[in-house]
């Protein structure tokens, strides 16, 4: 379904990719026709859609109009950088978000209000704003991190990706923190926590065994949604920091109306989103004995 929307949307946007590609104000009709044939732009919608989807399943996304090379190769060359960026940001989000949320929920009086205010402000700061701020402070100002590029070798790459990852993670940290705080608060108020307190279980064990364990379902779900959403967020972060990744490729291709690339990346993003959510569902089922038992027997 999503693939139909992705493919169809490309035909609805104004502008003719073929004439854009040929360039000049008066395109040669014969050249146009040749390009249309080459990229199957002259076929009826369903026929070309099925051809595209069939290729996509086999890993063949066609040929880029702009780069004149296979789309799959273009994406594969950039995939590692983007995956690294997403993984980095995901770790930052989960560690910082769950940590802050836990602290806010547990030490409601001392830390709760401060963290709530801070995260509310953080939520309102989009990636492109944080990118500008981070570059100004940590790259050009303090000179701790490079302004752009992806680097080479793992350590150098991570160093290069630190600012983009934090810019990407920034508002999501707040989101995960607030959700974590809410579910930790709820669990702390639950009756079985009273039971544990009444039995003299130390507060730390209560937090680990009875609060975090029970709150892990909603926290995991929110974290999963967030990470899945990061794939789309890389477009902004990579563009802002001049990283040659899949996200930046998407932005550039969209600007140049490079149909094949935009379609391919959009499809990959949707698949990644669905996969992450599926993994979260599976993990949730494993965490909650009530869910696993139901499916098992």
């Amino acid at each position: 379904m999503a693939s139909v929307v992705i493919y169809g949307a490309m035909f609805v946007v104004p502008g003719d990719p073929a004439s854009l590609l040929v360039g000049g104000s008066k395109p040669n009709p014969e050249a146009l026709a040749a390009i249309r044939r080459q990229f199957h732009l002259d076929e009826p919608f369903w026929q070309s859609y099925l051809r595209w989807l069939g290729g996509a399943v086999r890993g063949d996304f066609g040929t880029s109009l702009v780069y004149r090379s296979p789309v799959a190769d273009l994406i594969a060359a950039r995939a590692l950088t983007t995956l690294l960026l997403v993984a980095y940001a995901a770790i930052v989000i989960i560690v910082a978000g769950v940590g802050l949320g836990l602290l806010a929920g547990w030490k409601e009086r001392r830390a709760g209000a401060v963290i709530t205010v801070a995260t509310t402000v953080m939520m309102g700061a989009p990636t492109f704003v944080m990118a500008v701020v981070f570059v100004a402070v940590f790259a050009t100002g303090l000179g701790w991190f490079p302004v752009f590029g992806a680097g080479s070798g793992l350590a150098d790459r991570l160093w290069h990706l630190t600012l983009p990852a934090f810019a990407l993670a920034f508002s999501w940290i707040a989101y995960v923190a607030q959700m974590t705080r809410a579910s930790v608060r709820e669990e702390l108020r639950s009756e079985h926590v009273d039971t544990a307190r009444g039995r003299g279980v130390p507060e730390r064990s209560i937090l680990r065994r009875h609060v975090l364990r029970n709150a892990s379902g909603p926290i995991l779900t929110v974290s999963g949604l967030t990470v899945a959403g990061l794939f789309a967020g890389t477009a902004v972060a990579e563009q802002a920091f001049g990283i040659n990744g899949v996200g930046a490729l998407l932005v550039q291709s969209a600007a140049k109306q490079d149909l094949a690339i935009v379609q391919a990346i959009s499809l990959v993003l949707v698949v990644a989103f669905v996969m992450v959510n599926m993994l979260v569902d599976v993990a949730n089922a494993l965490l909650d004995p009530r869910a696993t038992r139901r499916t098992a027997g």
Partner: protein
């Protein structure tokens, strides 16, 4: 003999939207070692809140005055470590709703062992051995399988047995049972009460038993304290409550019980609406419903007076005729 648990003029206020609400006005109660005391009252009379105050499980921001002593040591005065030790070793609590009070995502075995292993003196094997013995003692068959199951796989009655086993596993001196049978069906209730009663006598445990069922209280307890709107209005030995009851509220409760073998055209009730503790004015809490109310009752709150075998808080205790206290319900 000095009391194991001694509650002296307990008063509890909870924070409310505006200021605070008093949920317990005046509760004084002693539980001696090995003795079972029932705290009886209707919903909202403050009986559960009293046990929560004893366990120090009151909601955040609650204000407590008066004194609660266990073996001479003040419970409100304990620091965190002492409180934890006391809870882990000296007292066991059985809650009303086992399904809500046992962590749903952990195994029955984990729940039972958690308490036993807290002081670190028992090995995992010894703990398991003790827990298994207790599970058999509370009438659970097929213990090994039960220990590896999750709470949602057990019935309510079985879960309440697990809770009782958990409360007894640390070999406490005092058992607090907060309506342990209210959430269960009637036949299961009888079994669970029999288990609690049997194990308590066998181990010489003291018990504070919270219930709204007078007959049940009389059956398993040595003494009965009746609570109304945040105060104890009367306290009597269990056997002497029916003949000696002198507080109009206690008499009303006694008269309102349906009796087996007698057909009642309409169940008798106490006139009026039960009030909450925070609604109580300067006078007697029961003044709004009392059939023998006089001016004094509305002006001044009666202090508990010692009478033969017990205490009663009424200006005119013993004056009323029981029949005069109850309406036939038709007035509603």
């Amino acid at each position: 003999m000095s009391a194991l648990l001694s509650i002296d003029r307990l008063r509890v206020e909870l924070p409310a939207k505006k200021g605070s609400r008093t949920v317990i006005h005046d509760v004084s109660l002693d539980v001696r070692a090995g003795e079972a005391v029932a705290l009886v009252g209707e919903s909202g009379s403050g009986k559960s809140m009293t046990t929560r105050a004893v366990m120090r499980l009151l909601p955040e921001g609650a204000r407590l005055s008066g004194e609660i002593r266990f073996d001479g040591v003040s419970i409100p005065g304990m620091d965190r470590r002492a409180l934890r030790r006391w809870r882990a070793t000296r007292v066991g609590m059985v809650f009303q709703d086992p399904r809500a009070h046992i962590n749903p995502v952990r195994r029955i075995g984990d729940f039972l062992m958690e308490g036993v292993r807290l002081d670190g003196r028992l090995s995992a094997g010894q703990a398991r051995e003790r827990v298994s013995r207790l599970m058999r003692a509370v009438g659970v068959a097929d213990v090994d399988r039960r220990l590896s199951q999750y709470p949602h796989e057990l019935s309510g009655g079985l879960l309440q047995r697990v809770m009782i086993a958990a409360a007894l596993a640390t070999e406490p001196d005092l058992l607090l049972a907060d309506e342990p049978t209210t959430a269960l069906d009637v036949t299961t209730q009888e079994e669970v009460v029999a288990i609690i009663d049997g194990l308590r006598r066998e181990r010489g445990l003291a018990m504070l038993f919270i219930t709204h069922d007078l007959d049940l209280a009389a059956a398993v307890c040595d003494r009965i304290a009746v609570m109304y709107a945040g105060s104890i209005v009367e306290e009597r030995p269990a056997g002497a409550l029916t003949p000696d009851a002198s507080h109009p509220y206690t008499r009303g409760l006694l008269a309102a019980r349906p009796e087996i073998g007698r057909r009642e055209p309409r169940l008798r009730t106490i006139e009026g609406r039960p009030i909450s503790a925070f609604e109580v004015g300067d006078g007697c809490a029961f003044a709004t419903r009392c059939p023998m109310v006089r001016d004094l009752c509305r002006r001044e709150r009666p202090a508990p007076v010692h009478v033969t075998g017990g205490r009663v808080a009424c200006h005119f205790a013993g004056e009323a005729e029981p029949q005069a206290v109850v309406g036939d319900g038709a007035a509603r």
